[in-house]
Amino acid sequence: MIFSESYHRFIDELKKNTGQDPNQCYQCAKCSAGCPVVAAMDLLPHQVIRYLQLGLLGELEESRTPWICASCFTCAARCPRDLDLARLMEGVRLAVLRLREGNRLSPADLELTPEQLEKLPAQALVSSFRKYAK
């Protein structure tokens, strides 16, 4: 657990930008229970909040979970603590993207056949680049 000055800076920034306070969470795990893509995650959604509470930021940076989250807002719709985890996930994604000064997705990464690319709705590509690159 690292409650260093940089942790507090990070959390303050996260709270400000997302309007969400991870300490509001009491770990009922309802977010994980309803998450439609939880099977592909290495950290469960409620664990992401727990890691934020404990200051395990390095582990979060390495986690696949924020990049699996599809912003479907199911977690936020049912959270008994009225937390919007979708926003917290976005905050973590942005922090990682900004920290690393690199994108997680570039056009060269796309493993799509030309046929797929033709069928794939424009909104999917725009969304992906918006979520995975800055």
Partner: protein
């Protein structure tokens, strides 16, 4: 200028730690009228009180100011001390140097001048104090208990056993309340009916208890010792003096509606008793659904009744009666779960609230005691219980923990295992709260002896898939998402106040919290009293609680009620409002705002230019007035004064506070 004595209390370090006592005492000596100023470490101690009494005599004091804790704590103490020294007790003023000063400041440089100002204000007010006298009022030796659940029953029995007459008012056709709906009780697994029905019978037979079922309180006025209450006893459409309780009427009644007692799972007849052990065992006709009352035809019950007890013409009865005390025990409701669409409650017949599930175990319940799926009538092979549905939920439910769900869920899982040992039981919980005698052991038995599987986590959604319910959740301890194919899903719905609790609180002028639970007068020291003298609370109407707690609270409230009833006279409030008829214009706005009905119009005679004229003015009944002061603020001509808090006194305090240092 009267001779004023000032006494400053250190309250150990509570006041002296922040306020420079010596400076305050020195300053007080210079205030107009002050002939004595002193201090003591604990003024509330016997030694401290003696200091006040002795000084009053020695210095011939006419007014006393104490700088101490809040008047809510010790005003009574010091008034008594002053009275014992021969002064009128209302010639005492309290400057709150603790809650209003030392506790809210850290810096003595800030606290000390503020303490001086507060004492100066109190001295200014004291110099205008007048002796006041309280009235001695009669106490009506009769109690009203509202609500016939286990708390109301217990309270009524305790008061009645003390020799006072009790009217027990219950809205439903029978007493018994929520407890009557339960099959077994935790942690002993006593049969609920077996321990409740003897008490119900005792109520019915008790010579001091007057049972008014199917009745509601409509209006309350008056004050402690003399509450005037109007009760509507709804027409049962049955003559109780003739009815033998044989039950032929409801056997023959052709109309059925969902049973409230069975939480809408089963049906009841339109003429009915809610359950077999009902007290009184006299049916009622539900006029809203009765074919005769709706369409003018049927009257089968009347034809079949061998006692000729059916009376379609019966009218509601209005009972107006005076009570010395009122005890409120209106209980709780199970929260409406329609806002939790993800569980499919109300959408799928196999998703039940815990209270509904409880009814399945009962021999007289909707399934005659068979635990089956309502979708197909077959016993479930797997049951999933979900806790905290609506509790601890600031988004869609109640912020609080409902306290009883951890235990009743474990109980239901055990009952299930006893009835259907092969059936699997899963309980999703967030935290297990088992504080109570034998509770933790009970929960461990469920897990260890009965093999109930406890899953720490939540359920995201229940998906009806084919014949079964796919419960998707997570076990947060293992970090594993789970999918459980269940036959029944049972939701531990939050306990909430009765829907009509706000209305009742308004009728009785008692306070409620943000959830509409009735407020106690003090969370620790006055747990069964309300802020309205003479009105007491017990049971789940105050906050969610289990049976032993409700019963204990009922006993405590009954003891408080009996304490009042045992008094010959009660002292009324001395600081009451008074109208100056010479200035009163007779607009009677004060009458409209008075919450206690203490103001009425009266005629006054005055001589104008030699002519005797009669005029309408307001008059305060000092027995009814509680000194709230609403009338004084409403009065346009400033002709109503609250004695002990006159405008002159208030302004003198303000002037003193505003004086430059």
């Amino acid at each position: 200028m009267p001779r004023i004595g000032v006494f400053i209390c250190w309250c150990g370090t509570n006041i002296a730690g922040t306020v420079e006592i010596e400076q305050v005492v020195n300053a007080a000596r210079s205030f107009p009228g002050v002939v004595y100023a002193g201090d003591y470490r604990y003024l509330c101690s016997e030694v401290g009180q003696k200091l006040i009494k002795d000084t009053i005599k020695k210095e011939n004091l006419e007014r006393v100011v104490v700088g101490t804790c809040s008047p809510r704590m010790h005003e009574v103490t010091f008034r008594k001390a002053v009275a014992e020294a021969g002064l009128n007790p209302y010639l005492l003023e309290v400057a709150n140097l603790r809650e209003h000063c030392s506790w809210v400041h850290k810096d003595p440089a800030e606290a000390t001048p503020k303490a001086i100002a507060l004492v100066r204000a109190a001295v200014s007010k004291a110099s205008l104090d007048e002796p006041l006298t309280a009235l001695m009022l009669d106490v009506e030796k009769r109690a009203l208990v509202i609500g016939g659940g286990i708390a109301g029953i217990q309270a009524a029995l305790d008061i009645a056993d003390s020799g006072y007459t009790v009217d027990l008012v219950e809205k439903e056709p029978s007493i018994g309340g929520r407890m009557a709906q339960l099959e077994k009780t935790f942690p002993t697994l006593d049969c609920a009916a077996c321990i409740l029905t003897p008490k119900m019978v005792e109520v019915a037979q008790h010579p001091n208890i007057n049972l008014l079922t199917y009745s509601e309180v409509e209006a309350v006025s008056g004050f402690v010792g003399q509450f005037d209450v109007r009760i509507r006893s709804r027409a049962r459409s049955i003559d109780p003096s003739k009815c033998t309780g044989c039950g032929i009427c409801y056997e023959k009644c052709p109309a059925k509606v969902p049973s409230e007692f069975d939480m809408e799972l089963g049906k009841r007849k339109v003429i009915y008793v809610p359950f077999p052990q009902a007290v009184p065992n006299i049916p009622v006709i539900d006029r809203e659904n009765c074919l005769y009352f709706k369409r003018g035809r049927c009257r089968i019950c009347e034809k079949e009744c061998p006692a000729e007890a059916i009376d379609f013409e019966q009218q509601d009865e209005i009972i107006e009666r005076r009570y010395g005390v009122i005890l409120v025990a209106t209980g709780f409701d199970s929260m409406d779960l329609t806002g939790y669409g993800e569980y499919g409650y109300g959408q799928h017949p196999d998703v039940l609230s815990a209270l509904q599930f409880e009814r399945l175990f009962n021999a007289s319940g909707p399934t005659a005691g068979q635990v089956v799926r309502l979708s197909n009538g077959r016993p479930p092979q797997r049951v999933v219980f979900i806790q905290c549905v609506g509790s601890r939920d600031i988004a869609r439910g109640q912020n609080y923990c409902s306290k009883i769900c951890c235990m009743f869920t474990s109980k239901q899982a055990i009952l299930l295992k006893e009835k259907l040992p092969e059936t699997e039981a899963y309980i999703f919980y967030i935290d297990l709260r088992t504080a109570g005698k034998g509770y933790e052991e009970f929960q461990r038995r469920a897990a260890e002896e009965y093999g109930v599987i406890y899953l720490r986590g939540s359920v995201g959604k229940v998906f009806p898939e084919g014949e079964r319910l796919l419960v998707r959740g997570v076990d947060s301890l293992s970090g594993r998402p789970l999918e459980i194919e269940a036959d029944l899903v049972v939701l531990a719905a939050a306990s909430v106040p009765r829907r009509d609790a706000p209305e009742l609180a308004r009728l009785m002028s008692i306070n409620s919290d943000r959830y509409n639970f009735f407020d106690e007068a003090h969370p620790k020291l006055r747990p069964v009293e309300t802020h309205t003298a003479g009105i007491f609370i017990a049971g789940a109407c105050q906050a969610p609680k289990d049976i032993p707690e409700a019963v204990a609270q009922a006993g405590a409230a009954a003891a408080k009620a009996v304490t009042l009833l045992s008094k010959e006279k009660l002292q009324s409030e001395a600081c009451v409002a008074k109208v100056d008829p010479a200035r009163c214009s007779g607009c009677l706005h004060c009458e409209a705002v008075c919450p206690y009905g203490a103001i009425a119009a009266t005629e006054t005679e005055e001589r104008v230019r030699g002519e005797l004229l009669t005029r309408t003015v307001a008059e305060v009944n000092p027995a009814l007035c509680q000194g709230c002061g609403c009338c004084t603020m409403t009065c346009r001509s400033g002709s109503v004064t609250l004695q002990g808090y006159t405008d002159e006194q208030m302004l003198a305090e303000v002037d003193a506070l505003c004086l430059q240092r």
